[in-house]
Symmetry: C2
């Protein structure tokens, strides 16, 4: 069992093999959002505020905060965004930048134990980012690419992840504070990408005993009906042992898929979270079918049909 | 590799570990549908006809046909329903009854190689149903319960499945013509039911080398937002190696989940079926992002963001 604990000033979130899946909201990121980028560069953080609140309301357990705006003062903007988001929400943050000085500024501004996003297997990055992670007692996302780029061979990606975990140990950072991103390839280009990620997540869990995360939407790049692919990906990744993802909680299908996967994994005791979120108010006078009334036997062709008969599920097209 | 081939007069469908998932439409079943039961008993098959056509249009690869109406002449009604459905669709059928004489009548009326639904591990059923399956050269659903009922212990359910597979062999029916239903328990009552089924499906595949099916909706019995649970269940079951399910293709979420799972498993080459079904017509003049343009590298924090930037996915709440 590996628990990765992150926190805000007042709240802890734990990534772990036997824990509910952790959704890290991806929206506070100016990359590809020209209006947001312009606003943030001009000191207008109203959209950051709205995105933070909306994602938490929609089900995000953590928020990623990125301020990657070309030619802007990224360290200052990231620090300001971190402070702002922490002033209006209590979820832990992932501090996201490819610029080490921005990570340092974000960490300096942060209250609690942050997730640093990210370090790669590149020597220069390892030796720049890991000391920061250690200094601030943070956890870190380890992306399994290195100087040679991203290998299409999952064994190579595994080896890069192992190298980062070992190097983190050298810096006094335990494996439980390293969250590996196995790198999700677009399945439209590489049809084996799904099976590959599932095997890789399993290996990372069994051999390196680390928690995992990913940028879930990459899987569906270039395909139509992306939420359908993303939902299937997340469900299967969770079944393989993935413990978090950086994704968009404003897409209802995504949150529903993650919550249903928690139910399926037995990580939602008595399905209490599911029922609380999706409970329908029964019409007046209707009898409520509870989980306790569930059928336990199937003889004479029974259970499948009895369940269908008793479910109260609306019948498309009528009787 | 185990292929289970079923057929109508003109079309084959194959259940197999490396094949797309097979959806068996469950709607033609009067259990719990009072109006349908009354109509079928009175010789009105218009709803059967409509249900057959609608399910195939929605994505069913096979149809289950059941005529279990109390006090009615089930063998005659089932035979008539089989003939009718075969006259208007070309998908193979699952002939579904707990009455042996009805199975015999349905098989006699059927053109092609049917799937008999079902035999259990009960001595009397084994010795009544398996000779019929052999006589008509059919395949058969083997439900893993016996005289003692349904065990909550998946090892016992596995043992019952093995017994049925061996008994079928004694009757000259190869394991490839036995499709095991591991029995899905309601997860609202048994929180471990999801993990249990996944392990069981894997064992059935690896040790008995059989194809599998299930009544998928049992998993969500008694819970709200059942399609969400059913979709997660089917996605995970497919990841574990389940090769078919008896379910409701008129629920769009279910078909989408199964098709997305096929993509994730690499069972939809070039995502061609997915793209055909879900392709959006681009607005005039818009450039189309194709799978071939997918990003292949991620440096400087790139792929996740680039994919998000280039995807064209609508941004909830605007920029």
């Amino acid at each position: 069992m590996t628990d990765t604990v992150v926190s805000s000033a007042t709240r802890e979130v734990v990534l772990g093999f036997d824990r509910p899946f952790v959704i890290i909201g991806e929206r506070i990121n100016p990359t590809g959002r020209k209006l947001l980028a312009a606003e943030m560069a001009a000191g207008d953080f109203s959209r950051v505020e709205a995105d933070a609140l909306a994602q938490v309301a929609a089900g995000a357990h953590m928020l990623d905060v990125n301020a990657g705006i070309p030619l802007a003062d990224e360290p200052a903007i990231l620090a300001r965004a971190v402070r702002l988001v922490q002033s209006i929400t209590d979820v832990p943050l992932s501090i996201d930048s490819s610029i080490v000085a921005a990570l340092a500024a974000g960490l300096e501004a942060y209250r609690g134990k942050a997730l640093v996003n990210s370090v790669t297997g590149e020597e220069e990055r390892l030796e720049a980012v890991l000391p920061l992670v250690k200094k601030y007692g943070a956890a870190v996302v380890a992306i399994s690419n290195d100087e040679t780029g991203i290998s299409e061979d999952p064994d190579v990606r595994f080896a890069v992840a192992r190298k980062i975990v070992h190097r983190a140990l050298d810096h006094g950072i335990p494996a439980s504070d390293v969250v590996v991103d196995p790198l999700v390839m677009p399945i439209g280009a590489i049809n084996g990408a799904g099976v590959q990620v599932m095997r890789l997540v399993q290996r990372l869990r069994e051999e390196l005993k680390v928690n995992t995360t990913c940028g879930a939407s990459n899987i569906s790049f270039g395909l139509p009906a992306r939420d359908g692919i993303n939902s299937a990906f997340l469900t299967m990744a969770i079944a393989s042992g993935m413990t978090s993802a950086i994704t968009n909680p404003l897409h209802g299908d995504i949150v529903r898929a993650c919550m249903a996967a928690d139910v399926m994994m037995g990580h939602d005791p008595d399905c209490a979270r599911w029922i609380r979120r999706f409970r329908e108010v029964p019409p007046p006078g209707a009898s409520v079918v509870g989980a306790g009334d569930a059928p336990r036997g199937r003889r004479e062709g029974g259970m499948r049909r009895r369940a269908a008969a008793a479910s109260g599920t609306p019948t498309p097209g009528g009787n």
